[in-house]
Symmetry: none
Subunit: 206 residues, 4 copies
DNA sequence: TATGAATGAGCATTCATTCAT
DNA sequence: GATGAATGAATGCTCATTCAT
């Protein structure tokens, strides 16, 4: 039999390709449920060909999480900083806070693969022995603190509101994925924002 | 030599014991992540001793889900039926609806094992190939329909409110689990209910 | 295809059988060079069927070494103790010492499998990272001390004589194995004993 | 981006460097236990960079053995020939024979790397399937014949004496390596020579 | 000369399951 | 009811080697 043709490709492209497929596959099956072999197959690579880029299953997970985080940071940092900087215009402040909250969900909708990955790991990593456990705890702390800061000064109980926002956001994304993206998350989220943060909306008159 | 002490015990008790441990273990690791062997160990049974009761890993999952559903149905049916039967007293109607919503979360808090299991499978079963996939879709449909019926007549957009309630509920339970049960879900949920369903609360005066 | 017939056999027999084949195979290829699969094949077992008895390759090695040591201890202890107990008859003392030295080689000749295993591990385990490294150091210390005690009182420099005896013994066994057992080790060893320990031989007149 | 610093160096130097590291590594782990990758790492070369010089693992072994033999031949030939040429002076003859025997061990002590390699392969290559098997048989024949010729005319049973010398030599070197070079092999060997070849020593007076 | 990228074969080990008792 | 013994299939990973540059 002829040795399978060597799929040489640009290393950067290959790495990115692997990360994308890994995101999809881990999103589908979770970390425990996916196999390196299946990922290699999807990437059109042999098993060791894949492990050349990420030496172990664990490293693959870390690679995916790092890429996701880098991406998120790059996209969100500017608008988050804008929202945290109190201006002299109260209405503008409120708008920029809502902007961040809307953007997070909008991004999740535009990137269903990442959303799916986050959903999958969110529960799988509840267990202390899971390789993404600490990554998730850190992420949650950061997000919760961010939400607290965002709504602080606008609502009576920032901690409670932050939790509710985070819970609603995660829950909606989850249902949206399970419903095969069969409803309009964005508008339901907008509506939820009005109900959960009325103080930030009646503002137009302020 | 004494033949290893065969742990003979009442079959029904054994079955219940297995289901309980299975609930815990699948909750910790998910369906893909747990092993029959580990479950057998926790039950103090040999590997085939366990499979005598549930002939396969898949059957174990079904057994757990069926038990959970039976339990849930038994507990919720009466108060759900009470809430769905419109009485002549509007305030009472509203109270009974809120009662159902509060009870669902209260039950989850009292049964962290089941809550954990539901959380774990909720995302793992997003994939169409997962053995609990259709079970979850069915469950979601039922719950969503129930919520719609519950709030119908009280709010402007029952479908949207139902989704928000479901999302908030699932999201809060999830965060509560990840936070090692480190905040008061019940009160946050109560507070969320006030915000998401103001129509059902201002009612006392109505 | 029909599932291969299950080779059920008496567990004790099986264990002994595995140990014997393992001794042979590790003797042939060394610890690094042998594979669990090949051993399973030789035992007429599937791969996991073998690992049922010894859960890992490392455990196999330990099992083999323990068995070998137990066997050796059982066989040598009586004559060693006899040799170490000084009697009133000097000639008898000398004879019992020589008896031990002859017996060790005689046993190696009768058990070429064990001899081969010892030879293989002797050098392979020189490396500090080898799983039998410490086992061998312990063995060497014990043997050297034994030899020192055996010849003490009979020769001028017991430490040097002990080393020479040990070296000659190991070297002869090694060459005998490499020569496909093509010369008479026993008689060469007897002859070497006369040269290395003349004090113990001229004794007849003593 | 700068193309990774290609470690270009003088090919002969490189070859020698590889052989030295290979000697060390094979000595540590044996042929089965060492990996081409680890050797490449120690040489500061990429995996294929190493295989450029020795196209396969097997070729590496052969290269090492050939180098070792060439070295040995170059060093020993003169004194061996001197020892084999019977002169008119018997005492001188005896001295030159002892000189060879002393020199062999002295060389091993000065070159612990080669000594270790020889020790490692000595037992590993007992197996007929080992790539150095026939090399070792040849070496043994040559050495044994040499020893026989050396002691012929001086001792009663040259074949037996030759075997004993060879065994003692190999055994002492082995123990010396295992004892972390913690005793004086040379003097123990000298002492052994006196015991094994008294005829060659009392000679001074002869 | 030397490398980065890739591969087929094989490794120890684990898994869900089955058989015989 | 429950077990010890055994299995086929798969898993993550490593190995020596090769290709293209």
């Amino acid at each position: 039999m002829p040795p399978s043709p060597r799929n040489r490709s640009d290393p950067d492209r290959r790495r990115a390709d692997i990360l994308e497929h890994a995101t999809g596959l881990i999103g589908e099956r979770g970390y425990y449920g996916f196999t390196v072999q299946e990922l290699a197959r999807r990437c059109g690579l042999s098993n060791p060909g894949l492990l050349y880029y990420f030496p172990s299953k664990h490293d693959l997970l870390i690679g995916v999480l790092d890429a996701l985080q880098a991406d998120e940071t790059a996209a969100m940092t500017p608008i988050v900083e804008a929202a945290l900087q109190k201006s002299s215009d109260a209405a503008e402040d409120r708008a920029s806070v809502l902007n961040v909250l809307r953007m997070i969900v909008a991004r999740a909708v535009e990137r269903p693969l990442s959303g799916r990955l986050l959903a999958a790991l969110q529960t799988e990593s509840l267990d202390a022995g899971h390789p993404a456990h600490s990554w998730w705890r850190a992420r949650e702390t950061v997000l919760l603190n961010l939400f607290v800061k965002l709504v602080d000064g606008h609502v009576i109980n920032p901690a409670a509101s932050a939790r509710q926002l985070l819970a609603m956001m995660d829950g909606l994304c989850l249902h949206w994925l399970r419903a095969d993206q069969g409803f309009d998350v964005v508008s339901i989220w907008e509506d939820a924002l009005i109900r959960l943060l009325p103080e930030l909306h009646k503002a137009d008159a302020g």
